[in-house]
Amino acid sequence: MATPVNNELLTRPDNTSGRVISSSKLPDEVKGTKRVRRSHRQIRTENVFRRTLIIVGLTMVVLVLGILITLIVQSTPSIKSLGAAYLWGKTWDPVRDIYGALPFLVGTILTSFLALAISIPFSFAVAIFLGEYYPKGWFPDLLKNTVELIAAVPSVIYGFWGLAVLVPIVRSFESSIGVSSIGYGIFSSSLILAVMIIPYAASLGRSMIQMVPSNLKEGAYALGATRWEVIRSVILPYTKSGLFAGVLLSLGRALGETMAVTMVIGNTSFMPKNIFSTGNTMASVIANELPEADKTVYNSALIELGLVLFLVTVVINMIGKRVISRFTN
């Protein structure tokens, strides 16, 4: 739409005198009109825009509350009929209508913490490498970007690769140490998970280590401390809450990770006997069974697992975020 130019806007200086006719000197009928009308339109749009922003902000709150309420409401059949025994029952047998989620809780905890234990040395090493030893240069840049790419690879691809490459290796490893050699199972899942969660703790740890004030470090160096002693007695204590937050974020990822785990854990609903046995995590059992869960209680029991997963990850992430914001302020 070509807005015709209003008279007032055209009151340019006339070139001969170089004087500007100020709008207040204009006759009243020229003043206002289109420019004022335009501005009124602008004000209306401005209000609409402000309101849209508030609605969008509200939408996010409603969305999250909606997710929580939906999960709770849909879990009630199972909460009502199974009660707290649901969390302690060792048997999961939908055919006989027995729903005990303990095997999945144990499976989830085992895979996540094992993965965490494997990944921490590596992610801390990356954090220290990039944060303290080599903060600048092309190689650290490359390493940083590559580690970030680890988080970008789709989990289904980790799962597929694990299936094709890692499971056979684990199988031969298992037979060499004399445990039941299936290859699938909690150990394989943990290995895959460990790789997947490295970037979370690493990148947070790196930024935390870079925030250590240099006068603290210099103080220690001035006393004749070696690099390792500075790291151990200045940097690590200073950043410990930040590193802890990074570990929590990694843990949150590991708990909720679905596809890679589903593909290599073996999907059995028994209590895992040791870290080499097959099993199921909360996420993997949902992925496997929700589409075919036709009975109300069965369906609802799976959704309750989702609710547990939701609450646990929310709590872990909230603690992590709190720690980070306390640290950075």
Partner: protein
């Protein structure tokens, strides 16, 4: 005394070496995966792979066109939902730092960021699949929810970094609020916003868990958003766990395409945003 110092220096050097080795070895699994997937996948990609739909076991010439089209459609619709809402919400958060709604909104975004994708899948299943049946659109909705926190946070962080003087300059010219935001603030932060959008697309392109019980999967080419649809990650999952070599080959080819797409998108994000960054 001298021996003690030598020991300490040696220990320090030893630790540094250990750190370097551990840090560099993190790259190995990524390289192993990249090399393996590309070697296994690239040979499977040919014309019929790119133009046919999947075939039953034993028949030659199966392809993944249905999954390619499906992935693109589902990502496209997810983006249409998530990009405007995400950017507006990011603007809301950066412009209302102190309001109570902004606090709750920010908290919600934090929560949403940590929610496992499978849980979002469950909720999309309850909201859209239970009443209306499996549909590609329910998949888009689930993926859109996953995109939101990434877009919102990157928009918010970018806009918060812009100096207040920019907003003041715009307001002082008599610009209404929406023009200040859309004509000055957003264009100056476009690189950060764009990188958030691209990263969120890369993130959901490989997402499988929420699609298991929303878009569900389908063996023919379909463009109907209200019906089930195949996607690349779901196809990989479906065929990775089968014992048949033909089908596994399809999965390898699909993995190769998906992996390259996601990695290239990630790298492009880095390059483009660096180039588009407005010099303040």
């Amino acid at each position: 005394m001298k021996g003690k110092i030598k020991y300490r220096i040696g220990k320090s050097g030893g630790f540094q070496l250990l750190t370097v080795i551990l840090a560099c070895s993190c790259v190995l699994p990524l390289i192993a995966i990249l090399v393996y997937i590309i070697r296994a996948g690239i040979t499977k990609i040919n014309w019929s792979f790119l133009t046919n739909v999947e075939k039953p076991v034993g028949e030659l010439g199966g392809g993944v066109i249905h999954a390619l089209v499906g992935s693109m459609l589902i990502i496209f619709f997810a983006s249409i939902i998530a990009i405007p809402i995400g950017i507006l919400c990011g603007i809301f958060l950066s412009e209302n730092k102190k309001s109570r709604l902004a606090y709750w909104c920010g908290l919600s975004v934090d929560i949403l960021q940590g929610v496992p994708s499978i849980v979002i899948g469950i909720v999309a299943y309850i909201w859209m699949v239970k009443p209306f049946g499996y549909s590609a659109f329910s998949g888009s909705a689930a993926l859109a929810v996953m995109m939101l926190p990434i877009i919102i946070r990157s928009t918010e962080e970018t806009l918060k970094m812009l100096p207040d003087s920019l907003r003041e300059a715009a307001f002082a010219l008599g610009m209404p609020f929406h023009r200040v935001i859309l004509k000055v603030i957003v264009p100056c932060g476009i690189s950060g916003i764009l990188s958030g959008v691209m990263l969120s697309v890369a993130r959901i392109a490989g997402e499988t868990a929420p699609l298991l019980f929303t878009a569900f999967g389908y063996q023919y080419l379909s463009t109907n958003m209200t019906k089930p649809m195949e996607t690349l990650p779901h196809l990989i999952f479906k065929y990775a766990v089968t014992p048949y070599k033909d089908w596994q080959d399809l999965a390898w080819g699909a993995s190769c395409i998906l992996l390259l797409f996601v990695l290239i998108l990630n790298i492009l994000t880095k390059l483009i945003t660096r180039k588009w960054k407005v010099q303040l």
